[in-house]
Structures are given as C-alpha cells and as structure tokens.
C-alpha cells in the first residue's frame, strides 16, 4: 500500500514539475511552421472519374489577388482567398463598387497569388483593433472613401514602404498569418477531379531602371515554405531561383511564371543576367528548371510580339500595352516580348551554347478583385474601385472634358484587356496531373476564351481525319512544349488543331509561327495553315483569304454563318532546312468580336472611343516545339 502511494506521489510530483511544453497550444505554436510532409512522394492516388490517358483540356487562372495584397485591399477588395475560389467554382461575389460578379462557366483550376510584399499588412492596418493600425502611416485606413482618396492613400503608403522607415510596418506575424490562411484555404477548396487549387504568391522584383520582373511562384502540393520569398529578401530573380532550388530539396516543389514582359522595358528577356554577365549553361539550366512557363497575356496587355519587332505579322498589334507597369513611361519593345525572346534564345544557344528562353505559354488575368474577368462583354478590369466603370477605364468620356480636346480620363486602363486563360492538357483535374503538364510545357494560353489547341511534330504522323489521331500523334510525335530532333533526309511533319469556344465566336484561321536562325540572324514567319469557310492558304503569301466576318458596332452582333467550329491541318514547312535551329508555335484566331471598350460605350449610349481598337480577334497560342538541328 505504501509502495503504491509513494509511486503515485512520485509520479504526480514529477508530472507537476514538468515545464509548460505539454500545453498543446504552446506545442502547436512552435509547429505552426509548415513542414514538408511525405504525402507528395507516397503511393499515387486513385484516378479520378474524368481520367483520360490522351489528356483533357483544362482552363484556369494562376494570377489572382485578394484582400491580402497591398494593392488590392486599398482599392476596395475585401474578398478573401476563399471568396476567390468560391467565385472560380461558379459562385457569386460582390465587387467593391457593389455589382455582382459570377462566371457563366466555372474554371477548372485557380491559384490565389497575393503579393508577398507586405502580405496582409494593409488589411491589418484597417483593423482598428490591431497594433499596426496605430502606426502613423495607417491613419485613415479604416475609413477610406472613393477611388481618388484611395489612390492618394496608396501613393502615400507606397512612398513609406520605399523609405528607410518601411521596416516599422514589416510585421512577420501578419505575413505568416495571411500566408497560412492562403495555404489552408487552397487546401480546403482543392477538390481532385472537379476543381484544382494551387498555393502560390507573386514575387515583385523590378530591374534597376524600374522594368517589371514580376513572376508568380506556384506550388505543386499542399505544403509550402514558412514564408514566401519577396523582393524585400532580394530584387534579383536569380536569388528567388536559388531559394526555390533549396526548397525543392526540402520537398517543396514549385515553379515561377514571369508576366508582363511587355512592361519590363527590356529587362524580362535580357541577353545578360541580372549582374550583366552572359547567359551561360548554368544560368539557362537554372532558369528553365524554375521557370518552364511564361504568362503571355493578361489584363495588362499581351506580350506575344510588337509591331516594331514583327513588321510582317498583320496581327502583331494585339492588345499592346506600351507602358511600363503602373506608369506612363514607355517600355521598349526589345527584350519585352515572347517571340523575340524565343529567337534570342536560339541566338544565345548558337553563341553561348545554351537556350534560357525555351519556356511554354499560358495566360492568366492578374485580377486584383479576386475574380477573373476575361469576357469582353462582362468586364470589370482589375483594380477594384479605380477602374470599376467605363469612365474610369477610359472607354466612356468624362462628364466634362478635363481640358479642351481631352474628353477621357487620364489613365492607362484603356490599354488593358479582358484577358486571359491558362490552358493545359492533363490526364485529370488534379494538382499532380496539371502541375506535370506545366513541367512538360504541354500548355497554351488564350486571350480569355476557351479555344483548345493541339500541336504535334514528328515523322510519320497520322492524317488529320484519322479516327485515332491523338493516340497516333502521341505515339509517333511530340506534343507542344517538346523538342524534336532533326533527322537527315527527313522533313518534320506538324499537326495543328483548334476547337472553338462554343460560347464565343467561330474560328477564322489557324496559324503556325516559325522562328529560326539563318546565318546568325533571327528570322520569323507567320504561316496560315487552315482557313474557315472553305478558303485555301495561298502558297506564296501563306495567307487565308479574308472571310469577311464583321462586327456591328451599334450592338456588337457578329456576322452569322461565317467561321469554323474546328480547324485542323497536316503541315510541312515549305522553307524547312534541316541544319537550322528553329521553333514553331500555333496561333489560332476567332472571327472579330467587340472589345470591352465598345461594350462600355454602347451601354453608356456613346460612340466608341476613336483612338481605341473597337474590335479584336480572340486568340490562343500553344507552347512551341523546338527542332534541334543536325550538326
């Protein structure tokens, strides 16, 4: 009995003498840092119901800002990441200006990518119960009024954030809390087989001259590092890649997707690295390992090519944003466009032995309202209260001219677009399958509609009316995003195929764009390969006849009975040279439709703005296929 009692005494004494780490709350607070789990490397999950070995097309947006981004919250966006995913799945949420936003067709995947730069801070400043709301720069944040007042407050805060005192508001607790919510929300809304979410964020580096170097970091799995790497850590993307490489070792697989090269003033696709050194093999490997994709189109314009760079491409003037991001300073075309980057990549390969610009293509939006707005006729632009109506967007005149002859608001929002979408070919709608398609570069981008493009290259490809076209194309050829080795005595064959968006306009033409090196010079050519309405491609000009499709600018109605549901071609390059380093990518175009600015004008009962394009041809771009020459 006494021995028993003593045992109890000793045990209870030792128990009461332990420190407080047995408090589960304290334990968890030290475990709040998310660690890599082994789930990613475990046994493969069961296939979901829609699994298709020959791959389905899925559409999504990998560039979405919510209340946690410093430049979304301040313009009225109070939508959370959860609201964003609810919207993407087809739910209705409210714009800060009070109207409803809802997709007609839900998206297949969505990635909330808030700015790592002061993540969550401005929102917390507006919380009167928070500590940071007492800081002098937070004054007025909880009672912000209209767009002009918000714009002024934004400029004030931005100036503070660029000042030496910025650290006073850099509270890691706020950032961590926001980041954990972003991660948990993505995981909660992820629904394998039905809807895929991606954990991610935006890294906002700029070059020394202010040129845009922003890229979005997208994680493959349900885990992510403790904190995102932001420009406060380094403004050099090469440091971001080092961090991503190190994290990959720790089990956090990710990739980064640059955007708005158009606004980079030549910095996004420079021919030297950040410090001015030539682009060597190590640079190319690291860049391609971490950045297999580029966002070619979004609200702030399209970066395929520029009329100055492609004078022989009649459609090169598509959604050109000529300015550097968030400014009226012009952005130089050289080094700012994807097609030229592909060409420079070939050039670099010839000169330095490596091609750092062999990325695949996607589109996305960059919405700061949490809501993708890619329909021209249902467009609310992207910056909350700043561009929530036609007058603010510069498509509808001001009530009174601001100066003689200046009838429109002084803004660059009029150069923006109802764009774009990321398209992938993946076996099923899951994170693993879609991320694999990113890595494989079997991806395409669209300017906001759901055209689907297929692209293959190889030798002995099937004919386009073959019943097992896709099976044989995969067997005998390579898909978009891949490399094909040239073969002496053989000519590569291509299959290009586009299917229309059933809820947008019919297709007008299918093109293959070729870029190659010839005697040390970069060359490019646009080939029409399939025409609608029974047209044939002219063998000399490589052009389809104009099918005459038009838009009525009074009501945006389009010509009936013109255009195709699908366009397909077996194609061989008439100017093929087996010794040339070359790439080819598909561009497909719809018949013209009204641009968002024309819809705005019609609804306001005014004429479309004369110096803006009244119509556009929605289009899709596939990732390229590179032909490695025989040497």
């Amino acid at each position: 009995m006494t021995r028993f009692l003593s045992l109890i005494l000793i045990v209870s004494i030792s128990a009461s003498c332990s420190d407080n780490t047995s408090d589960p709350l304290v334990q968890q607070s030290s475990e709040l840092a998310l660690k890599a789990t082994d789930t990613a490397a475990e046994t493969p999950a069961a296939r979901t119901a829609g699994y298709n070995e020959e791959r389905n097309a899925y559409f999504g947006d990998l560039h979405v800002h919510t209340m946690y981004s410093f430049d979304a919250f301040i313009f009225g966006t109070t939508s959370s990441p959860s609201d964003a995913y609810t919207f993407a799945k087809g739910g209705k949420i409210t714009h800060p200006a009070g109207f409803d936003m809802q997709l007609d067709v839900p998206l297949d995947f969505y990635g909330v990518t808030d700015h790592a730069f002061y993540l969550g801070v401005l929102r917390e400043m507006a919380n009167p119960l928070s500590e940071i709301s007492k800081h002098e720069v937070a004054a007025g944040m909880s009672t912000l009024g209209g767009a002009i007042q918000r714009g002024e407050k934004f400029n004030e805060i931005l100036a503070f954030l660029r000042s030496p005192r910025a650290n006073e508001v850099n509270d890691p607790v706020i950032g961590k809390s926001a980041w954990q919510d972003i991660i948990a929300t993505a995981n909660r809304h992820n629904d394998p087989g039905n809807f895929t979410t991606f954990i991610g964020y935006e890294y906002t580096a700029t070059y020394s001259d202010g040129g845009n170097l922003h890229r979005n970091v997208i994680y493959r799995d349900d885990v992510a590092p403790e904190l995102p790497f932001s420009r406060l850590d380094s403004a050099n993307p090469e440091d971001l890649w080092d961090w991503m490489d190190a994290n990959r070792e720790r089990g956090f697989e990710s990739l980064a997707i640059p955007h708005n090269s158009n606004g980079s003033n030549g910095s996004m696709f420079m021919m030297t690295d950040f410090s001015g050194n030539p682009l060597d093999g190590a640079y190319a490997d690291q860049r391609m390992r971490n950045e297999p994709l580029v966002e070619i189109t979004q609200v702030k314009g399209t970066s395929d090519t520029h009329p100055a760079l492609s004078p022989n491409d009649e459609w090169a003037d598509f959604e050109i944003m000529p300015f550097q991001v968030a400014s009226f300073r012009s952005s130089q075309p050289n080094g700012s466009y994807v097609r030229e980057a592909y060409l420079n990549g070939l050039k670099n390969e010839e000169e330095n032995g490596a091609n750092p610009y062999k990325f695949g293509i996607i589109g996305s939006s960059d919405t700061h309202n949490a809501t993708y707005a890619g329909d021209e006729d249902d467009y609310w632009s992207k910056v909350g209260l700043r561009d929530s109506d036609g007058v603010r967007r510069g498509s509808v005149p001001l009530r009174e001219p601001r100066a003689p002859g200046e009838n429109y608001a002084e803004t660059y929002f009029n150069t923006w677009s109802a764009s774009g979408l990321a398209g992938v070919w993946a076996e099923e709608n899951t994170r693993a399958s879609i991320f694999d398609s990113f890595r494989r570069k079997e991806t395409f981008g669209t300017s906001g509609t759901r055209m689907r493009v297929r692209f293959f290259a190889g030798y002995d490809l099937p004919l386009i009316d073959d019943n097992d076209l896709i099976t044989k194309a995969y067997e005998n050829g390579v898909a978009m995003g891949s490399d094909l080795l040239a073969s002496a005595g053989k000519e590569p064959e291509f299959i290009a195929w586009v299917s229309r968006d059933p809820n947008s306009a019919a297709l007008q033409r299918l093109q293959i764009i070729k870029g190659w090196m010839e005697d040390g010079e970069a060359m490019e050519e646009v080939y029409d390969v399939a025409c609608s309405d029974g047209g044939s491609v002219d063998p000399i000009t490589h052009r389809c006849p104009d099918n005459g499709a038009q838009v009525n600018l009074d009501d945006c109605s389009i010509t009936r009975g013109l255009g195709a549901a699908e366009l397909r071609a077996n194609w061989k390059d008439p100017d093929y040279d087996v010794s040339q380093n070359a790439f080819y990518y598909v561009r497909a175009m719809e018949n013209p439709t009204c641009r968002w600015s024309t819809w705005d004008a019609i609804r306001a009962g005014v004429e479309p703005r004369p110096d803006m394009a009244a119509t556009l041809q929605e289009r899709a771009w596939s990732s390229p296929i590179w032909i490695t020459p025989v040497r």
């Binding site: 009692l5 968890q28 119901a49 995981n187 909660r188 009316d465 059933p502 549901a565 699908e566």
Partner: protein
C-alpha cells in the same frame, strides 16, 4: 494515516518537495542564458528565410550575439516590470494568442457533429441533375438526319460522324458542364430525351449532334460517407470562424469574475 507518517519514504518526499520549493524561491546568483542548439538553429533558419542564403560562421556568430544582447535587455525589461500596464504589449500578446487560437485545430469532430453539420448544409453536398451519354458530331444537318434514320432502322452508326475534340462519350456531366462544352442552352435540349436510343440532330455551336443518353442521374444528396472528408474540412472551417470566441469562452470558464462593490 498514522502509518504513513512513519514511512521514511513519505518524509523523503516531503523534504525533497521543500528543498525544491525553497530553491524556486531563493533568487539565483549569476543568471544563465542558455543558447541551445535548437535556438541557434532557429536563428539560422530565420536568416535563411529572410535572405535565402545560409549564414556564414561569422554571420551566425554575430546573429547569436545580437540575440543574446536582446535576451539580456528583454529579461531586464521584465525585471523592471516594463511589460506591466503597457497596453501595446498587452494588445500584442492578445493578438498573438488570437492568431494561435484561430490556427488551432479543434479536437477531431465526433461523427455525430459531422452528421449534424452535413444535414444543416445539405445543399452544399447535393449533386445536380447529370447526364451520361454518347455523342456523334456532324458538320451538316442532312448527314446527321440520314444517320439517325439509319439508327432507328436498327443499324449501327457508332463509327459515323466527324472526329472532333469533343469526346465520344461523357459521364455524369451536369447541365453546367454540358453548356460549357457544347454551348449554353445545349443541356436544355437533352431534357426529356429518352434513354437508350440515338436522338437528334441537336444543334450546338459546333454543328449537329446525335445523342445517345445512357443514363440520367437525378439531383441527389451525396451520401455522407462519400463526402466525409469535405464535410470534415468544411466543419473545421466553420469552427475556425468561431475559434477565437470559443477559445476565450473556454478560458473564461477557469476564472471567477468579481466586481468591486461601489
């Protein structure tokens, strides 16, 4: 009880307790700051997270030195009672606890709780009307008409039609899915079609289709077992929204609140 008092073991325990208690009461001589390996690791990790690089030996030494100086100041501040009556410190600690409370996972919910949450939110787990069907695609109406006539005569038409990016068959597609694939309004045209025979031509944005409905799946609530994971995470989210309040309520239970009588 008497027997206990005579046991040496009991006295041993009482004495050791006293020594332990006295030890805690008597102030120590030189304070110790113990820099554990875990603390060093934490400092190095923070550096790495912020800079992306491993700290060099000199950098780490300097960081640890900074931390030690901070620790000394921190302890002195506590000794001077600087944390008392400081509303900023108070608010900050409350805020930290608030974040932690929100992040805290509640206990594993009971099945009964999940059942109840599921029933109250049954619409979230209700599958809409869905169709499973085969389709054939034709560019012109005449060919489609000819083929459906052939089908009604009992002939096999499954290899007719034009290839397209559309599938030969679709399973469990909601009306929203179908409109996304074939164009808005197409799903309405499937309404009322009989199952098990080729019907059409039905027009879409692509052209003309013959549709063979293999089954119609009525709107139904997904059984709890099949959506248990979703219900679980939705329930936890619902709980999290009330987490701070429940945490405070749970803590309040441990206190007796008294007000000064005036």
């Amino acid at each position: 009880m008497g027997r206990l008092v005579t046991q040496p073991l009991v006295w041993f325990v009482i004495i050791s307790l006293s020594i332990f208690g006295l030890d805690n009461l008597i102030p120590e001589g030189r304070d110790e700051i113990f820099v554990s390996a875990a603390q060093k690791d934490r400092i190095a990790l923070l550096w790495k997270t912020q800079t992306g690089k491993d700290a060099s030996i000199q950098e780490l030494d300097s960081l640890v030195k900074n931390w030690i100086e901070e620790e000394v100041l921190f302890r002195q501040a506590l000794r001077l009672g600087l944390d008392q009556d400081d509303s900023i410190v108070r608010r900050r600690l409350v805020q930290k606890l608030g974040f932690i409370a929100e992040a805290q996972m509640g206990p594993e919910p009971e099945y009964a709780e999940l059942e109840s949450y599921y029933s109250q939110n049954i619409l979230d787990y209700t599958l809409p009307l869905r169709y499973s069907f085969r389709q054939l695609y034709f560019l012109d109406q005449a060919t489609a008409n000819a083929q459906v006539s052939q089908a009604k005569l009992g002939n096999n038409i499954s290899s007719s039609g034009t290839t397209s990016m559309l599938n030969d068959s679709y399973a469990f597609r909601s009306e929203l899915d179908i409109d996304a694939t074939f164009g808005s309004g197409f799903s309405l045209k499937l309404n009322g079609l009989p199952v098990g025979e080729w019907q059409g031509p039905i027009e879409s944005s692509f052209g003309y289709h013959l549709i063979y409905l293999t089954s119609i799946h009525a709107e139904e609530a997904a059984p709890l077992k099949s959506v248990l994971d979703s219900v679980g995470s939705d329930y936890q989210q619902f709980q999290k929204l009330n987490a701070r309040q429940r945490y405070v309520d749970a803590l309040l239970d441990d206190y007796l609140i008294r007000y000064e009588e005036l």
